[in-house]
């Protein structure tokens, strides 16, 4: 038979990761996620990075782990000949958007370029645009900043195809260009692994950020 206090202690002890903390009296509280009534606010990691870049500063955590769906690459795509590295010149590419307009990175110097890896049917992307941090945010391209979405999904994979992307861009309120990279060459070159995954290229053409939108996948703040 356990007393109520024993059960509480037990529950707390269990919540402290692994065994070490469990062998002594609980020194702190509230680490049982299930008991947290209100989560901490999300950290706008990407937004902070962008502001730093626009202020000519280096972002913190410039190369961090993103979350999301895997990029739906073709299985037989060749390995990239060049791999992007944070702090180095961003590899050039040229892709077309859904209206057939070409975007060549090397012709965009002087602007801060945001690359958002994108799959309009990925639940993380849907959340980000419908309820999350990209709601309305991605429309703010201006003279200094150009925001480009890149879909590296192979034909037949989730979220792929021009017509589908046109339709879903409207549904999600995506007004920035959506570039199709069906071969996955650009995605692999940049090391894009998830959707959404954010990249920032500064006005000198240097890749200065690669990582997550925030620390809250589907709105749930990670501990």
């Amino acid at each position: 038979m356990y007393t109520h206090q024993q059960i509480r202690f037990f529950t707390l002890c269990v919540a402290l990761s692994f065994t070490a903390a469990c062998k002594s009296k609980p020194a702190d509280s509230g680490s049982h996620k299930g008991n947290i009534a209100a989560q901490a606010p999300a950290k706008p990691i990407f937004e902070d990075a962008l502001q730093a870049v626009l202020n000519q500063k280096a972002p913190q955590k410039a190369d961090n782990k993103p979350y999301g769906c895997s990029v739906k690459y073709a299985a037989d795509a060749p390995a990239p000949t060049q791999v992007a590295q944070v702090g180095q010149a961003a590899p050039d590419f040229e892709l077309q958007d859904l209206q057939g307009k070409s975007y060549k990175l090397s012709e965009l110097k002087g602007k801060t370029v945001i690359l958002e890896w994108y799959n309009p049917q990925c639940p993380f992307v849907e959340y980000a645009y419908n309820e999350g941090p990209l709601r309305g945010r991605a429309k703010k391209s201006d003279d200094k900043v150009l925001w480009l979405n890149i879909n590296s999904g192979a034909p037949g994979k989730q979220g792929s195809g021009k017509e589908l992307n046109i339709k879903l861009a409207q549904a999600l309120g995506v007004t920035q260009p959506v570039l199709l990279d069906e071969s996955g060459t650009v995605g692999r070159t940049y090391g894009a692994k998830t959707t959404p995954q954010m990249f920032i290229i500064d006005d000198k053409g240097v890749l200065v950020y690669r990582g997550a939108l925030d620390n809250a996948p589907l709105g749930k703040v990670k501990g």
């Binding site: 692994f18 979350y67 690459y73 501990g223």
Partner: protein
């Protein structure tokens, strides 16, 4: 992310590994669940008040007795995942999101957090590593006071299930618990057998050493057996690579001053002794 195995313990085996996150706090489960079931199977039932995205995932609950004392002490959450699809471990890897189990209402105080068998791993095109489960798996949640089993269990499950596409799913269950323990299924036995031991049960020496030009390496040497696979926990610790070489596991991290606060253990390791593979948390103080 790193999903490391020696060649002879490679992907094809798709081993399930137990993640016994918290076992040191609880009653020790018996070494084997392969005992006979106690009593006849009792028809428990569950109602689902809210379900979405369940076309690829089925969930069934069972009340199991892990220590043969005649009382059920484990809530088994049995997952059946549609062929070709997978759900995710607590560290999903490069993509995905952890499968969540959350007791609700009065049940919250009655059960320990779910223990997830550690995952299979896979690598998708583009070198995207994932950790999770396919086919069938079982999570376990320990009933804290088996002498007072609840009549009803409330819980909510959330998952992301992926194949070529990813779908969110969730299910809220109100489950009428049986009076007696139910039969252990083959899948429950398999999952249980692969739950890691306690971290202190890992008989190994370890030390940290600095790397040049920067970084730290945690080197772990087993007193017996050989390491066959390592699953890192998602701890923001900057794991750069891991090497398994027989009885030695080497985990290479970024420079400590770059790491920030590290809250978790390093991961889960599989150790083969004789023909059996056992799993242990790797949990050593950070430098």
């Amino acid at each position: 992310m790193y999903a490391l195995s020696q060649p002879h313990a490679g992907h094809g085996r798709h081993l399930l590994f137990g993640l016994l996150l918290l076992s040191a706090c609880g009653r020790k489960p018996s070494a084997s669940p392969s005992k006979r079931a106690l009593g006849p199977k009792v028809g428990a039932s569950a109602s689902e008040s809210a379900t979405k995205g369940s076309a690829h995932v089925a969930v069934k609950l069972a009340a199991l007795d892990s220590d043969q004392d005649g009382r059920w002490d484990q809530l088994a959450i049995e997952w059946t995942i549609k062929a070709g699809w997978h759900i995710y471990w607590i560290n999903p890897g490069d993509s995905g999101i952890a499968t969540k189990v959350r007791m609700q209402g009065a049940s919250e105080a009655l059960f320990a957090p779910a223990r997830l068998p550690a995952p299979e791993h896979w690598t998708s095109p583009g070198g995207i590593v994932g950790y999770g489960y396919s086919g069938q798996t079982v999570f376990f949640s320990q009933l804290l006071d088996p002498s007072r089993p609840p009549n009803r269990v409330d819980l909510k499950l959330r998952w992301l299930v992926c194949k070529d596409s990813c779908l969110r799913g969730s299910k809220t269950l109100q489950w009428t618990a049986p009076d007696k323990a139910e039969q252990w299924t083959a899948q429950s036995k398999r999952a249980w057998a692969r739950l890691p031991k306690t971290s202190s049960a890992l008989r190994a020496e370890h030390h940290w050493r600095a790397r040049q030009p920067s970084g730290s390496t945690l080197e772990i040497r087993a007193q017996e057996g050989e390491f066959v696979e390592f699953f890192p926990l998602e701890n923001d610790a900057g794991l750069q690579s891991a090497e398994l070489d027989g009885a030695t596991l080497s985990l290479h991290y970024r420079s400590p001053h770059e790491l920030g606060e590290k809250k978790q253990a390093q991961g889960i390791v599989g150790l083969r002794v004789s023909s059996a593979v056992e799993y242990y948390p790797v949990e050593f103080a950070w430098p």
